[in-house]
């Protein structure tokens, strides 16, 4: 056999690191009772407290932001070590820490690329340690998928900027200490060319956050209103009117590898277990060909996404950057969880109408209701397909009527 053979197993160093993670997790989690809600609602004080405590504990042990430099409070490790820890953590009953995901996944790399050394030293350690929560203020009511159409104005005033406008669908803004914001600094040039990015203090005067209750009854998103909010020019990220490339780099972090290894929720094991218990007529649902074929189809896709994620990790290990083709995972997983949950509800029959807190279907129904969000957040299915078509397959963009027209003439 050739030396250049594929290897799914950990290298000796990696195996060692995995054991280290596993035993640390086992010990660190003796404090927790392991009971978690189906989905974390960070408006519940205990859920938030558990998240902060856990994030801080990880940071103290070097397991928060493992692949970030130690100087900022990171672990100074590799991307593969990060993945090994994530795998082990996902397999454990650790408290949910989703409220830090935007900070760690998007704000951290964006700040690392565009902020000053002083800003990084001041802001990144509390971000990593779970003391500060960050949000991303891009979407607006009038622009969903078309981010370059944001209208929130930024007007220069001496060494400051004055911000006025409205953002929407801002995850966890009600808890956030800081935010990354995309603004319209110049309406007299085409829409992609008049944008500027900043980081802002979410407690600054003039910032008002109003939570949006979602269909599943949880408020993860918010509307955020800006009325004469003063932001020092020192908090600008990137060039004046150069915000589009900052936003693109932030979004790239959101989308690359999105969903591939990180999907929480229904698994094939859950489906098999559920189908063992349910009956169709007199036989277990698991004996029914229609159920079995779907299990195979879903496994093919989920396992394919998982294996594909290993291809991406291999590239990272080799120092290469995985391309946008790996964002297919996000596209596939939202739809699939939606399908699986709907199928299991249907298979359960009338009793699945009861989704009260103590019912058998409560968890399944929550997956089903939250799946719609997965298909929309971080790029709707349709937008993800456009991105794959244009960036991976090189197909032409739609005819654009708005590209060379000054922003102020578009409406």
């Amino acid at each position: 056999m050739s030396e250049a053979m594929m290897d799914f197993n950990d290298s000796p160093e990696q195996a060692n690191y995995r054991m280290q993670c596993r035993s640390w997790l086992a010990e660190a989690l003796t404090d927790f009772d392991g009971r978690r809600p189906h989905f974390p609602d960070f408006d519940v004080p205990e859920v938030m407290a558990a998240a902060r405590a856990w994030q801080s504990r990880k940071a103290a042990a070097g397991y928060a932001a493992i692949s970030s430099p130690r100087g900022y409070g990171g672990g100074g490790g590799s991307r593969i070590e990060q993945e090994i820890f994530d795998q082990e953590e996902r397999a454990s009953p650790a408290p949910f820490t989703d409220v830090f995901d935007i900070g760690l996944g998007m704000a951290l790399p964006t700040m690392a690329a565009f902020a000053t050394p002083e800003q990084k030293s001041a802001l990144l350690p509390p971000l990593i340690a779970g003391r500060d929560i960050w949000c991303q203020l891009f979407s607006e009511p009038s622009c969903g998928s078309d981010l370059a159409a944001v209208r929130t104005r930024a007007i220069r005033d001496g060494t400051d900027w004055i911000l006025d406008g409205q953002k929407i669908w801002t995850s966890y803004a009600q808890h956030a200490d800081y935010g990354l914001i995309l603004t319209r600094s110049n309406p007299d040039v085409p829409k992609h060319k008049g944008l500027t990015c900043f980081f802002i203090d979410m407690r600054a005067p003039g910032v008002e956050v109003r939570p949006i209750v979602q269909m599943a009854g949880i408020a993860e998103y918010n509307e955020v209103f800006f009325t004469g909010v003063r932001v020092p020019d020192a908090q600008r990220l990137g060039e004046v009117d150069g915000g589009w490339s900052v936003a693109l780099s932030t979004l790239m972090h959101e989308r690359t590898l999105g969903g591939a290894g990180k999907v929480r929720g229904l698994t094939i094991a859950d489906i098999i277990e559920g189908a063992r218990k349910l009956q169709i007529g007199d036989v277990p649902a698991l004996a029914d060909g229609a159920v079995r074929e779907r299990i195979a189809d879903w496994w093919i896709d989920m396992e394919g996404i998982r294996l594909n994620y290993y291809r991406a990790l291999t590239l990272l290990t080799r120092g290469e950057t995985p391309g946008p083709e790996f964002s297919a995972g996000k596209l596939m997983s939202g739809r699939q969880v939606q399908e699986m949950a709907a199928f299991m509800l249907d298979l359960s029959g009338p009793s699945a109408i009861d989704i009260g807190d103590d019912s058998d279907s409560a968890g399944l129904a929550m997956e089903w209701l939250m799946a719609a969000r997965r298909r929309l957040a971080g790029g709707a299915d349709e937008i993800m397909k456009n991105i794959l078509a244009e960036r991976v397959l090189g197909l032409p963009v739609e005819p654009r009527l708005d590209k060379d027209i000054p922003f102020r003439d578009l409406f």
Binding site: I212, I280, S348, P350, E382, D402
Partner: protein
């Protein structure tokens, strides 16, 4: 060949649309969703005043006249408006009693139903009927929390049970569809009055067809609201309704609605004429309507973008209603199986 609504039925449909626009606005539905009211009693009264609770019942029996098709059109209009009223179970019960009940049962029950004072539920029960009493549990009784009378189906009997006695316990459940008050019914030797066996064979098919029209109404509403949204919402300088991904998805929704409507009409016709293919036609109506409403509600929500996922938007009310109606008489796997069993017999 006559497979379309008659001009009179078209007029009824238009009248019902106007009625619903007037009497079942957003505030009526939201009052139930947000828990202020248990059901839309005022709407029910207005329906009674229009004679809609006696529709499809012969005038000799105190009804408004008309045929089952007209009952179906009422169900369609209520589905379109997400109406929080127990019309389908109540109409099912009045149709069954008018059709199969003895004179005593008709006289005891129909006047109250037609006058609006008696609301009913109908459900399968895991239990036994013997010696004039029934015991057992019906885990899901549609509109059961507000019903006065239940028709309950054991494996062998369809029986009438008043729900006001001491032998009945009802527990409201946390339903996926918050517009309807669904309950679990537990009966311990509750007095019950049996209907003829033929009714036991008929009720599921009738439930499938009537709910099919309710689902169809919901489907059309979702298509209409999604269409309005994609015409108004702009992205990258164009109405999003001009993008093929959006257009073609709406066409998929439209075709499913078209197919569901054809099956629903067929099911109604088969019930009315007691056609030999009644079971097949009813199963077709149920499967097609469940698929059309669930698909349209899911993809309609998707086409509304993030806004569609908020509590304040009605998209999820349809998603929830579609799921409840898709489950209440049994999921699609069961009903597709009924289709195939009938087809096997037809093609021996």
């Amino acid at each position: 060949m006559n497979f379309e609504l008659s001009p009179e039925q078209e007029m009824l449909r238009e009248m019902l649309q106007r009625f619903m626009t007037e009497k079942c606005g957003r505030d009526v539905v939201r009052a139930i969703v947000d828990g202020q009211d248990e059901w839309a009693a005022e709407l029910w009264n207005a329906m009674q005043q229009l004679g809609l609770l006696g529709i499809g019942i012969d005038e000799i029996l105190g009804g408004t006249g008309g045929c089952l098709m007209e009952v179906c059109l009422v169900a369609e209009a209520l589905g379109h408006g997400l109406a929080p009223v127990p019309f389908v179970p109540t109409a099912l019960v009045s149709q069954i009693i008018a059709r199969f009940g003895n004179e005593h049962q008709r006289e005891r029950l129909l006047p109250g139903i037609i006058a609006g004072g008696v609301r009913t539920t109908i459900a399968a029960i895991d239990g036994q009927f013997a010696d004039g009493t029934i015991s057992g549990t019906a885990p899901i009784a549609l509109d059961g929390a507000i019903a006065d009378i239940a028709l309950l189906a054991t494996n062998t009997h369809l029986v009438i049970v008043p729900l006001d006695g001491p032998h009945v316990t009802r527990t409201p459940i946390g339903s996926v569809d918050r517009t309807r008050s669904i309950a679990r019914l537990s009966l311990a030797a509750a007095p019950a009055d049996a209907l003829p066996d033929a009714a036991l064979d008929w009720w599921q098919d009738a439930a499938a067809v009537l709910s099919g029209f309710e689902q169809l109404g919901g489907t059309e509403r979702v298509i209409a609201m999604t269409r309005t949204h994609v015409l108004e919402r702009r992205s990258f300088g164009r109405a999003i309704g001009s993008y093929q991904a959006v257009k073609h998805r709406l066409v998929d929704m439209h075709i499913k609605a078209l197919i569901a409507r054809a099956h629903a009409y067929h099911g109604a016709w088969a019930l009315m004429t007691d056609a030999p293919e009644r079971r097949l036609a009813a199963a077709g109506a149920r499967v097609a309507a469940s698929e059309a409403y669930r698909f349209s509600a899911r993809e309609g929500l998707q086409l509304h973008g993030a806004m569609g996922t908020s509590w304040e938007h009605d998209a999820h009310l349809h998603l929830r209603r579609a799921e409840m109606l898709g489950l209440v008489w049994g999921g699609s796997r069961i009903w597709k199986e009924r289709v195939v069993v009938q087809l096997e017999q037809a093609h021996v």
